[in-house]
């Protein structure tokens, strides 16, 4: 035809907070082909186990990604604990769950903001991020870090939350819920947002399964995958149902995440109500030997940690399969035939975390 436009999209691009590159082949503005190129953040973290001992690696694991940093630390610790056969105190399980759900809140709020930004809805972006700061404050108060917490340790957690603070968290979350429900209404009801998200990037249930989608991406297409149902940490003692949508478009993915925000609020409240008194950490002695696969539900979906230890201080292998890695095939599928203006929106609806993906 000769009417094709080929342009680079990324690695540096104002709508991309993280570097990923696409060769976009357009006709007018319609994407005919999108060929990805990754590796801009590839550092080689898995290989770092050869240089850091298994205790130090906790801190490396947390820095796999700065957004779900808590979950990464937790997943790694859980794997090592499982290998070593350590049963951590119940209070620690609950604290981990609270922080995990707070992480989900902060991640989803961040995502909502970025989505609004990709849609060109600046005020919504600002307000989402403003509300997110409340969660970060809770984090800072309880874990002493804003985005990277270093609070999870092998054998439990390093900091406790006293009951006073738990109450305070409860009241902060009440105010938060009220304000969030105000702006999430905009995401779900405003016509200009719906115009941009509804019917965009549709992934049918079959396609989502065939492409191995995980997390909200899969749940928005009606696939019931939620690792929290497996009952790790304290989830076994909480009431929760995975949130499912069937449309499989960007709107459904937004809707799933928004509902998960409220679900997380609910889970945190349940935890605060149920949390037992007790120790927060057991002492871990010796070195791990054995292997274990741990699977958790991150804000972005299912994550898999595979740890293999040989009885020395240094582990044989740590393998992390992050949710974004699993969602990339689905993203490429949805990009076909979309508009150039939709590219950032579609990239965002998988909630990409490139630094997780490339490690």
């Amino acid at each position: 035809m000769g009417k094709e436009t080929v342009i680079p999209f990324g690695p540096q691009h104002p709508v991309l907070p993280e570097p990923i590159h696409l060769d976009l082949v357009l006709e007018d503005e319609t994407v005919v082909e999108a060929i990805p190129s990754i590796g801009y953040i590839h550092r080689g973290l898995e290989k770092l186990v050869e240089k850091k001992d298994f205790q130090q690696y906790t801190y490396v694991a947390e820095r796999i990604c700065g957004i779900c940093s808590f979950m990464h630390g937790m997943g790694y610790c859980m794997s090592v604990e499982s290998i070593m056969g350590v049963q951590i105190p119940e209070r620690a399980e609950f604290l981990r769950t609270i922080w995990a759900e707070l992480s989900r809140l902060h991640s989803h709020m961040l995502w909502l903001g970025l989505l609004a930004d990709a849609l060109g809805f600046e005020s919504l972006f600002m307000h989402s991020w403003r509300l997110r700061e409340q969660i970060l404050d809770i984090f800072e108060e309880t874990t002493s870090g804003r985005v990277i917490f270093s609070v999870c340790d092998i054998g439990g957690v390093r900091k406790d939350i006293d009951s006073e603070t738990l109450k305070k968290i409860n009241s902060i979350l009440d105010g938060f819920e009220q304000e969030v429900s105000e702006i999430t209404k905009v995401f779900l009801n405003d016509s200009s947002v719906i115009l941009r998200t509804q019917g965009l990037g549709v992934l049918s249930q079959q396609a989502a399964f065939d492409l191995g989608a995980v997390g909200p991406m899969a749940r928005a297409s009606g696939i019931d995958i939620d690792m929290r149902k497996s009952g790790y940490a304290a989830y076994g003692r909480l009431k929760m149902e995975p949130i499912l949508e069937t449309a499989g478009d960007c709107y459904a993915r937004t809707s799933v995440r928004i509902k998960e925000v409220f679900q997380s609020l609910d889970l945190i409240r349940q935890c605060i109500a149920l949390i037992p008194e007790g120790e927060i950490k057991v002492k871990v002695m010796g070195n791990p030997k054995g292997e274990y696969f741990t699977r958790l539900e991150q804000p972005r979906g299912e994550v898999l940690y595979y740890v293999k230890a040989n009885g020395t201080k240094f582990l044989d292998r740590v393998r992390v399969r992050t949710p974004t890695f699993a969602n990339i095939p689905a993203l490429l599928e949805t990009l076909k035939g979309c508009q150039l203006a939709d590219v950032p929106v579609l990239i965002l609806t998988i909630d990409p975390c490139i630094s997780c993906t490339e490690r």
Partner: protein, 287 residues
């Protein structure tokens, strides 16, 4: 002699007012977003900084278009504010805009080119409505001259409500506000980087900013025309109307997501087409 003084006054004052409006816009927008926002004079700081910066370019041709564009936009402002022919002013403005678009093509860079296409598409979407506005105003007074329009016995808004609404609709394009900031937005985060201005820097970018200030004044002058008539008080009302329209645009900017080009084109043509056509057809029956 007076004419020369007038012209110089327009050339100097229009960007000052335009810049100030942009500054106010930025402050109000920030407040709406729960932020403190920059100082009101920030747009001037930006432009002055750009003038002090190094100007780099990707080829020797593309800066030329920006300057020509500015000259024709100034030309338009002068015609309009001196009460000249409104259609002629539009033609000069279109000429200016086209040079701006050509500037985007001239840099031959991916995002500039896509920006140019989008800008052109926007022009295609809103130009008819601007023409129809002029025609509507002409219907009232049998004159395309602004000085005649604002000296009419009744304000144009009385018989041109539909046209006015259509104009408000496309004002969003002219002021480069969301939802119609496809080609170039105030807010940097856009899929086509900064569209046409991607390759401009330093002085050239400053010129583009100033051009936009003039365009803001031109856009508000159009609103003004609907309210001004031969009573002196009406001019105050008209200025008030301009301010309200501008505030409305700021709210719209903050309350909408950016639309895609298909929707921008379709909705603009349909809405302006219906509003303006119905208004004009009814008007033509009463002649």
């Amino acid at each position: 002699m007076m004419l020369v003084i007038y012209i110089i006054a327009v050339i100097v004052l229009a960007p000052l007012v335009g810049g100030l409006l942009t500054g106010i816009d930025r402050v109000i927008t920030a407040r709406m977003q729960g932020r403190k926002g920059p100082s009101v004079l920030q747009p001037f700081y930006d432009v002055l900084k750009l003038f002090q910066k190094e100007s780099i370019e990707v080829n020797t041709m593309h800066r030329f278009f920006v300057y020509i564009s500015l000259i024709f936009v100034i030309f338009t402002t002068v015609i309009m504010l001196l009460g000249g022919d409104i259609l002629l002013a539009f033609f000069a403005l279109t000429l200016g805009s086209i040079f701006f678009v050509l500037g985007g093509y001239a840099s031959n860079s991916p995002y500039s080119t896509v920006g140019s296409e989008r800008e052109l598409l926007q022009m295609m979407a809103f130009e008819p409505m601007i023409l129809l506005t002029a025609i509507g105003l002409y219907y009232g007074d049998k004159s395309f001259f602004i000085k005649d329009i604002i000296a009419a016995r009744v304000p144009s808004i009385v018989y041109l409500p539909g046209v006015f609404l259509g104009l408000i609709y496309i004002l969003t394009f002219k002021l480069r506000k969301s939802p119609f900031d496809l080609s170039m937005s105030h807010h940097g985060h856009q899929e086509i980087v900064q569209g046409i201005t991607t390759e401009y820097s330093g002085k050239d970018l400053a010129i583009i900013q100033i051009t936009h200030w003039y365009e803001t004044i031109i856009a508000l002058t159009l609103v003004y025309l609907f309210f001004a008539f031969n009573s002196p008080v009406s001019h105050l009302i008209a200025i008030l109307a301009c301010i309200i329209a501008y505030l409305l645009e700021i709210v719209i900017d903050n309350a909408f997501a950016r639309v895609k080009w298909q929707h921008a084109l379709k909705s603009t043509w349909v809405i302006t087409g219906v509003l303006a056509s119905v208004n004009l057809i009814i008007l033509s029956f009463f002649r």
